[in-house]
């Protein structure tokens, strides 16, 4: 196996607040290989965006990376001189965001913003950089790229703005493109076009992609491998086929069953996950998912499960795992939940924490 392009080990990012330290990212480790498409999924506050921002050195105040290593081609970004890190971030590792309108400068022309990204890292004449900006817009399939380069961001539609952002991200032919919910604000037909573009870039330019999303469908369509995060930690990681077909962590399993599928012909009751994601100032003891887990055993309350191999390239952090939940705990029969059970409606007098 070749050396990974990016190696994140035991990454820890904290936010110091008046109420205490929020453990936003808590011991996250993973590898990204050359040309790979990796998905990071989880719900709001699980630490997926903070993991990306930690890699980019963009953690907002009062957040700080307090531990771990982020190695790009062997060099630890957290221990390099600031100028050297700046050379890598933005050139070799680029990032695109959910809301292209607030990421673009409203008073600068689209083409110039792409040029700026290039000029920050190399010496080019304005004529060359302007030509390149147009060819990048063409590459991301913006129609009439010459005219659009002269427009301002507000003159573009949401989809075209996101394409402009991607063109900016590609300006220096990065080895890694981190995309943080790039399609969440877009309509589905536009989302499909942007995902198609990312697939094309991954295939043709061999740009490695880290796709951060809450949408499991997006991961299934784009990624080779997926990491599932919960409460600042990785709970499961593996090849997409494995994870979607035979998830081993109860959180992954439940998440997959809580989304309606457009291709499902049977109307089964959705499985919802009871309760709320935990407080990250004082996370639950043992396994952080245990208060919401339908398959917890005594050990889950006190011992934190390690992220252990459960198959070829597949790791899960669970003392029970779904194989046993099916064999011994009747997980199969839990899929069809009795009416009312999963909506909190029959928990009379009790607080539904949804």
């Amino acid at each position: 196996m070749t050396t990974p392009l990016l190696q994140v080990s035991d990454l820890r990012t904290r936010f110091l607040t008046d109420d205490g330290a929020v453990q936003a990212v808590n011991g996250v480790s993973f590898d990204l290989h050359e040309g790979e498409a990796l998905g990071i999924v989880g719900e709001s506050g699980c630490g997926k965006s903070m993991t990306a921002l930690s890699i980019m050195g963009l953690v907002p105040e009062p957040g700080r990376v307090v531990g771990g290593e982020i190695r790009f081609r062997g060099q630890d970004l957290l221990r390099m001189r600031a100028e050297d890190v700046r050379e890598i971030r933005g050139r070799d590792i680029a990032m695109i965001f959910q809301d292209p309108l607030s990421s673009l400068n409203p008073v600068l022309r689209n083409g110039f913003q792409i040029e700026e990204a290039m000029l920050a890292h190399r010496d080019l004449s304005r004529r060359v950089s302007a030509e390149r900006a147009v060819s990048l817009l063409k590459k991301v399939h913006v129609p009439a790229p010459e005219a659009r380069a002269k427009d301002y961001p507000h003159q573009l539609s949401g989809g075209m703005r996101q394409r402009t952002m991607i063109a900016m991200g590609l300006a220096n032919e990065p080895a890694v493109l981190i995309a943080d919910e790039p399609t969440t604000a877009l309509d589905v037909t536009v989302q499909a076009q942007i995902l198609e573009l990312l697939r094309e870039l991954n295939r043709e330019l061999r740009t490695a992609i880290i796709m951060i999303t809450h949408n499991l469908g997006v991961v299934a369509g784009l990624c080779d491998r997926v990491i599932v995060m919960y409460a600042g930690q990785i709970v499961e990681e593996g090849p997409v086929d494995q994870i979607f077909e035979r998830p081993q962590h109860p959180y992954t399993w439940a998440l997959l069953r809580s989304v309606p599928r457009v291709d499902a012909l049977r109307h089964e009751r959705l499985r919802s996950i009871e309760g709320l994601p935990p407080d990250l100032i004082q996370p639950p003891s043992g396994c952080r998912f245990h208060p919401r887990c339908p398959f917890r055993v005594d050990r889950c309350f006190g011992d934190e499960p390690p992220l252990d191999p459960v198959g070829e390239g597949h790791r899960a952090a669970c003392w029970v795992r779904m194989a046993r939940a099916y064999d011994e705990m009747g997980a199969g029969s839990l899929v069809d939940v009795s009416p009312g059970a999963a909506s909190g409606i029959h928990a009379a007098g009790e607080e539904a924490r949804g």
Binding site: G159, T189, G217, A220, S272, I273, L276, I345, G354
Partner: protein, 350 residues
């Protein structure tokens, strides 16, 4: 078509007397230079008692405006909306106000739709106060009962919205909508702002309430997967017009409008095997402006099967019943299957 195993969480109502009938409804908003935004531009449908009728479309198609028209929150430019035997479009003042009690809404943003300075009890009781339904002890008992109904602690009535999570706030919004026992609840993207695991809880709650209180929903969303899941029938809207209306199982298995086929093909499915086989119905360009919509069929500028120039750019296709209960506004409805092979051959499975 093959027989489909349908186990529905809420039984499908039999086609009976419609609860609400919408006839040729138009809503134009004034724009600059005397032009107007044709948000809802002449459409008709009915809502049956006890059903969940889904309404989907992309941003700017007019779906939220239509929801507000049905909920009697906006006056019509023209057309009629009948509630049972009453023509609501003819009512004014106090008479209209009294009818409004029959229509409640659940909004998308659980943060913006609850007044942060009011207690949860007062928020839920506001419709009771407005329509002078209950006062004093009866009012408080009703609030507590409503909190319990939506799965919240009844003693939370003195708390404020900021003390609750997004999902809990949406439950408060639902309790408020239920307070005056409306005939129709318009749900405008009620789960779009919530986390994945919480969305399931709210959908399940809405279905349980529908069964328990025999509610009728108009359920608006941009996500066809969610709409198809919760609805008995689905309407698809494009640029102020209805393009397809059908049973929620039918519309997926056999879409009869190319726009529906495109929407269906665009939704990512959480299954890598299905994703690898999926073929996207590519739409050209972007949604045209509702100030000057295209001639003929409004979808012809982006349609993969349009004859343009030709009948599609010249004649507006009427919404016609192509097979029992399945309506489509397309000159070439029979050809839609050819562009949506994925939709036709899907074997699916929950």
């Amino acid at each position: 078509m093959a027989e489909i195993d349908v186990v529905e969480p809420v039984p499908r109502p039999s086609a009976g007397e419609p609860l609400v009938r919408v006839e040729e409804v138009v809503k134009h908003f004034p724009a600059r230079l005397g032009a107007s935004v044709r948000a809802v531009d002449g459409l008709s449908f009915e809502v049956r008692r006890g059903e969940c009728l889904g309404l989907v479309g992309e941003s700017g198609c007019g779906k939220s405006t239509l929801g507000r028209l049905v909920a009697q929150l906006l006056p019509l430019t023209s057309g009629r909306i009948w509630f049972k035997d009453v023509d609501l479009s003819q009512l004014r003042g106090e008479k209209l106000r009294r009818q409004r009690r029959e229509f409640q809404m659940i909004f998308q943003d659980p943060y913006a739709s609850l007044d942060p300075r009011m207690t949860v009890g007062d928020i839920i009781a506001e419709p009771l106060d407005n329509f002078r339904v209950a006062r004093g002890r009866v009012r408080n008992e009703r609030v507590q009962e409503l909190l319990r109904t939506v799965g919240l602690n009844p003693n939370f009535n003195n708390r404020y919205p900021h003390e609750f999570s997004g999902g809990q706030r949406q439950r408060i919004g639902i309790a408020r909508a239920l307070a005056v026992q409306p005939s129709l609840i318009v749900c405008d993207e009620p789960i779009s702002a919530l986390d994945v695991s919480i969305q399931g809880q709210i959908i399940n709650l809405l279905q349980d309430l529908q069964r328990q209180f025999e509610l009728t929903y108009l359920f608006i969303a941009h996500d066809l997967a969610v709409v198809r899941y919760i609805s008995h029938r689905v309407m698809v809207m494009y640029l102020g017009k209805l393009v397809e209306v059908a049973d929620s199982v039918q519309i997926y298995a056999d879409p009869r409008h190319p726009y529906t086929a495109a929407l269906l093909s665009a939704i990512p499915v959480p299954d890598p095997k299905v994703e690898r086989k999926r073929r996207l119905v590519q739409l050209q360009g972007e949604i045209p402006s509702p100030i000057s919509p295209p001639s003929g069929c409004r979808f012809h500028t982006r349609c993969p099967i349009a004859r343009a120039p030709g009948v599609c750019s010249e004649e507006e296709p009427p919404l016609e019943e192509k097979s029992p209960g399945h309506w489509s506004a397309c000159h070439f409805a029979d050809e839609v299957g050819s562009v949506a092979p994925w939709a036709r051959t899907a074997s699916g499975g929950a």
